[in-house]
């Protein structure tokens, strides 16, 4: 496949790069340390610009799916539900999804996510907490997946963590021109980009964004 390719979709908006767990198979707990990205909630100005980017792709007909998540736990963002509603208003027919560890998930979350047609993936890193979230998501008809894949279909974040490497597969991010807007507004080509080295733009820039393989691809199971 030829690179660089034009970006075609904002596939993720990382509302927060902070997390309330420290799982050894995830690089999230490294964020904030030297050489890694910072831990922060997305500011409103960055969020507005992020939505504008997604809307532009939506109008162009290439924005089909958006995850309101990144390396952190999105529910930690103090304005999470408000941002969900604003995203749905801006993108009325885009498939919206979140993934959560469920620790903070309440009935109010389930209700608002349901109203806004957001599908929910739950990662049971702590089963004793995740069950309540799964129950509520089921109750409101928004549960799409309870992920046990960290065990059944593992990956090591392109070598960033000490975990079993994933099986080779095509990289949909690069091949489909997916973009990941990080919590500080920078745009990465990759969902594994915990160090911010795959940056190809920023939401405050107006130029078109292009994607291409970057240094993490050399150690990744996903093939450009």
């Amino acid at each position: 496949m030829d690179y660089p390719r034009l970006g075609r979709e904002i596939h993720q908006i990382e509302l927060s790069s902070d997390c309330n767990l420290k799982c050894p198979y995830c690089p999230s707990h490294m964020l904030g340390k030297p050489g890694w990205r910072g831990r922060l909630h997305m500011e409103e100005g960055i969020f507005v610009k992020s939505l504008e980017k997604a809307v532009a792709y939506y109008r162009a007909g290439t924005q089909t799916e958006l995850w309101l998540m990144g390396l952190g736990e999105s529910l930690l963002h103090p304005r999470f539900l408000e941002y969900v509603e604003r995203t749905r208003s801006a993108l009325p027919t885009t498939a919206l999804r979140i993934s959560t560890n469920g620790l903070l998930f309440t009935e109010e979350h389930a209700r608002v996510l349901g109203q806004n047609r957001v599908r929910v993936h739950i990662s049971p890193h702590r089963p004793e907490k995740a069950e309540q979230a799964a129950f509520l998501a089921r109750k409101y008809g928004i549960l799409e997946f309870v992920g046990t894949n960290i065990v059944s279909d593992p990956f090591n974040w392109a070598g960033l963590v000490d975990w079993k490497a994933g099986k080779p597969a095509p990289c949909q991010w690069l091949q489909k021109g997916w973009l990941n807007i990080l919590s500080d507004g920078s745009i990465s080509t990759c969902c594994f980009d915990a160090k911010g080295v795959g940056i190809v733009g920023h939401v405050n820039e107006v130029r078109e964004v292009k994607v291409k393989p970057y240094e993490l691809c050399a150690s990744c199971n996903l093939i450009p």
């Binding site: 089963p127 069950e131 129950f135 309870v146 046990t148 065990v151 079993k164």
Partner: protein, 219 residues
Amino acid sequence: MYPRPVTHIRQIEITSRCNLRCVYCTSPNLGRPKVDMTEEIFQKVLDLAARWMKGGTQDRISLCGIGEPTIHPQFIQFLRLAREKLPEGILDVTTNGVKFTAEMARTLADCNIFLGISMHRPEIAGRAAFLAEQYGVAFKSHCDPVMTPTNWAGQVEWRMGVEKYPCPWLRQGGIMVMADGRITTCCFDSTGEGVVGTIDDAMWLVKPWQLCKTCHQFP
């Protein structure tokens, strides 16, 4: 319909001890002794299962109950014994993975024993799954407390997230041999109140007992 004769052993609880304290499990507050099954009892149970397999009423058996089997000091030896005495049996065991080792994985593969891996702690269960895969063990990981939650017939404070269905234990005459050699009609029996005898008895009959009233599996 009841009482019915016992026709097979569904589970051998090789230990009733556990190295986790999960809030959705009866194990932390087990109302019966936390002990390891002796080799003598285990041999008797296997002899009985072998007879029933020969007789055609038994084809599979799980080597676990309310407890973590891998912490039994003779776990590996018990796996080999089970395969030796039940050469045609479909055998399985479930672990939380905390004490799972390469030697266990190798033995499970040698003995063709299926491994269930409970994801109580994914960071631990994952390591067990990778070892199992490395040694060619047939295995499946699961997270039942989230996917198919139960409250153990009201014994723990947890959600009942599964539909009611007929109890295969009572209806088919299945039993669990507990770690101390007593026989119960029920895999949820954390108190021993469903006991219908011991492994040294000549026969056993099963019938509904008090926990059936609060259980999602009906007699």
